[in-house]
Amino acid sequence: MSMEIAIPQPVERENYLNNEYGFWSWLLTTDHKRIALLYLVSITFFFFIGGFFALLIRLELLTPAGDLVQADTYNKLFTMHGMVMVFFFLIPSIPATLGNFLVPMMIGAKDLAFPRINLLSWYLYIIGGALMLHCMLTGGVDTGWTFYTPFSTNFTNTKIVEAGIAIFIAGFSSILTGLNFVVTIHRMRAPGMTWSRLPLFIWAHYATSIIQLLGTPVIAITIVLVAAERALHLGIFDPKLGGDPLLFQHLFWFYSHPAVYIMILPSMGVVTEIIACFSRKRIFGYHFVAFSSIAIAVFGFLVWAHHMFVAGISVYSALVFSFLSYAVALPSAIKVFNWTATLYKGSIHYDAPMLYAFGFLGLFTIGGLTGLFLAALGIDVHVTDTYFVVAHFHYIMVGGAVMGYLGGMHFWWPKISGKLYPEGWAKLAALIVFIGFNLTFFPQFLLGYMGMPRRYYDYSHMPEFQVLHVLSTAGSTVLGVGYLLPMVYFLWSMRYGRPASDNPWNAAGLEWKTSSPPPTFNFDKEPVVTWEAYNYDELDAPVHPQEVPVGR
């Protein structure tokens, strides 16, 4: 595999990409790697739809008056931006693409435990996505992605039921992915792959799956109840019957707060792998990083009502939830400290994935620390439902999750495609994304503390906010360019990129011990694991005993 020419090679080893051709070989595949690619294409599609909405939102906010779009249109834009980005991009982003591709390979399995269910989950995602697209094209929804009752049940005229069904179906796709991961990680590990030899990426995905399994059904039933209230005139949250709109919020946030960890935990897993590889070190405090993932998954379920501190819940309940919110901050802090400590006495390489990981560290730290502001009851009263919150969760979910996702895509792209991406462009893109992101969202912290409420399309009553809005809009265009670039050069590299060796980073992990791209069943011979995770010491030793690749 050392040929330098960029033309397709006449003789290629058989791999998962070239063993079959044609439309149906993709649409009926049960190969987790092909399904990962199906997901990759679909979530990229939805990412750019959601991003397009985001740009329109930012353009509208360039001037204080509502002059680009109507109020109704704007309300639909931020609603659809939220729904598409949360349910059709962020939730499946890393688990369904990188996770799908790597979980079996990292533990030495031939496939996920239930390949057909895996394919089914993609189809469910596509059906949900198609419904959502149809819903958007035929009128859309204007409730915000949070569906708060009684606005959603009794007041809006938009397509709540259809959007609800779309999210319900996509939710099942998410549940099935989580189910597949849990069973696979428990049942399909290669001989010798003990729990403490698992890559931390796997631990992160295991924790993610727990949330997907136990949280998603609650939002599913909540959406069913909302749809039933609208379509069948049942009354469960209806204040006219004595129902409590806050009950909806409790049920909604029981899922939707942990959902944030569905988005960020896999990203943490990716970053852990990248930091270990590019500092050529075993991760500092392996067990603490592993268990902090599980701790985040469990504690994540205990804190939901911190979204409701001003909603009218009891003071005592608010105290409990505030306290617990600090408990969930701790494992995240532990992770950040361990990543930092891993760098110590490392041998650090500045390849593109590592730049993304550095970006992740910075942005996630800011996002996490501003979370402390929101968990502090007294401050939350002032900044909740303002741009402070908007900035905070974008720092976590875009700055953190998407940064990690892009880092992971770069890191594993040689394995996925068998091609190398152009390193210079990748570094440039990382820089553009980092700058663009901060320019977009940092001003929003200031806006929020000054009192700019969320979901306003017109701020002509407070023109003093315009300067910061202009900065934010400017940043969003930079960010847009930063996100387009990787897509362009990844596509370019598929045809023109230099072929990748099996292990271009000289990284630890079973996925690097098979060929690039891997064969259909991942390994030509069933791997037997005799080494610890992150054995960079052995990999970097002048003569490494483990260097006999299993996949050959």
């Binding site: 005592y316 400290f337 361990n338 007294g378």
Partner: protein
């Protein structure tokens, strides 16, 4: 309240700023110092329990300090002084209707005198709204079907933004207004010019028109409890519970008498659901308050309740939130 929130905010800025700075500094220093050099290998370090404990315990202690401080501020935000002036707020898509106890009515504007504790008793006619005055650092969702309460104490005359902070439909961003804080003299002038008789007087009229006075008599034992002096006092209910007769209790009993029937009375009161408007409810509440000598303690009961505004009796806060 603003200075309390700001103090905590500044404390948090310093603390988190230091934490962020520390992490970033270490990352940058490590990244530079331990960059790859040919021939030098990374030193493998397994981890350190001592370090892990250190960097768990220290942040935890800091977190707890923030938690306690934040909780104290929150508790004060939810403890209106006993002698605060009541102002009723009815939210609807997409406007704020304000009713002062002396009968002044405003839309999207709230006139208050400087230096007085103002207690807002709020409800919504349709969806959830949120009454947000950024300058006073207060925000409280306004819910249909029950009262929520927030309070403030303006210290400086001026005009301040009033926002709806909970998304409420098409013209959400049009549901804005101003809080006009005036010197007492100016305020009195404004109040005199706009008065239409006290709210409690309107309430007394509604009370008579709806026939409430037939049963709830103040001169002789009636079929319903005597409401004289009831407000703010504990009431023993038929099912054994003891609740405080606050705004939410009165509201709920008018709309849903069966749930909160007073011990010793027959279940004969009809529901007034659909027969009284939110404005009339406010007037009735104001009237029942006016015939009681003591001051409100807290709304509270079941789903309609809001302990978020509860207060420890006798622990009043004479000096509340201030403007900036």
């Amino acid at each position: 309240m603003a200075h309390r929130v700001d103090a905590l905010y500044i404390f948090l800025l310093v603390v988190t700023g230091m934490m962020a700075f520390l992490v970033c500094l270490l990352v940058v220093v490590f990244a530079a110092k331990f960059r790859h050099r040919p021939g030098i290998r990374a030193e493998q370090i397994e981890g350190s329990n001592a370090l892990e404990i250190t960097w768990s315990v220290i942040p935890f202690v800091i977190f707890m300090a923030i938690f306690v401080w934040g909780a104290v501020v929150y508790f004060k935000e939810h403890t209106p002084p006993a002698d605060a002036t009541d102002v009723y707020v009815v939210a609807k898509q997409w406007m704020w209707k304000i009713e002062h106890a002396e009968g002044q009515r405003e839309i999207n504007e709230l006139h208050v005198p400087v230096g007085r504790d103002i207690r807002l008793i709020m409800t919504s006619q349709d969806v959830i709204h949120s009454f947000y005055i950024p300058a006073f650092r207060i925000k409280q969702d306004v819910l249909p079907g029950r009262y929520t309460v927030e309070w403030f104490h303006a210290t400086e005359p001026g005009v301040y933004h009033l926002f709806c902070a909970e998304y409420c439909g098409t013209q959400h961003s049009g549901m804005v207004g101003s809080v006009v804080v005036e010197n007492p003299a100016d305020y009195e002038a404004w109040a005199k010019a706009n008065s239409s008789g006290p709210l409690s007087a309107s309430g007394e009229k509604v009370f008579a028109e709806l026939g409430c006075s037939a049963c709830h008599r103040s001169d002789a034992p009636g079929r319903g409890p005597n409401l004289q002096g009831v407000f703010g006092k504990p009431v023993q209910l038929e099912d054994g519970r003891i609740v405080t007769a606050d705004e939410n209790y009165i509201r709920q009993t008018i709309l849903d008498p069966g749930l909160t029937r007073v011990k010793g009375f027959q279940p004969i009161m009809p529901t007034f659901q659909g027969l009284v408007t939110d404005d009339q409810l406010n007037e009735l509440v104001a009237y029942i308050k006016s015939i009681s000598t003591n001051r409100p303690v807290t709304p509270g009961d079941k789903i309609g309740a809001n302990a978020a505004v509860s207060q420890v009796p006798g622990k009043s806060q004479p000096n509340g939130s201030q403007v900036q």
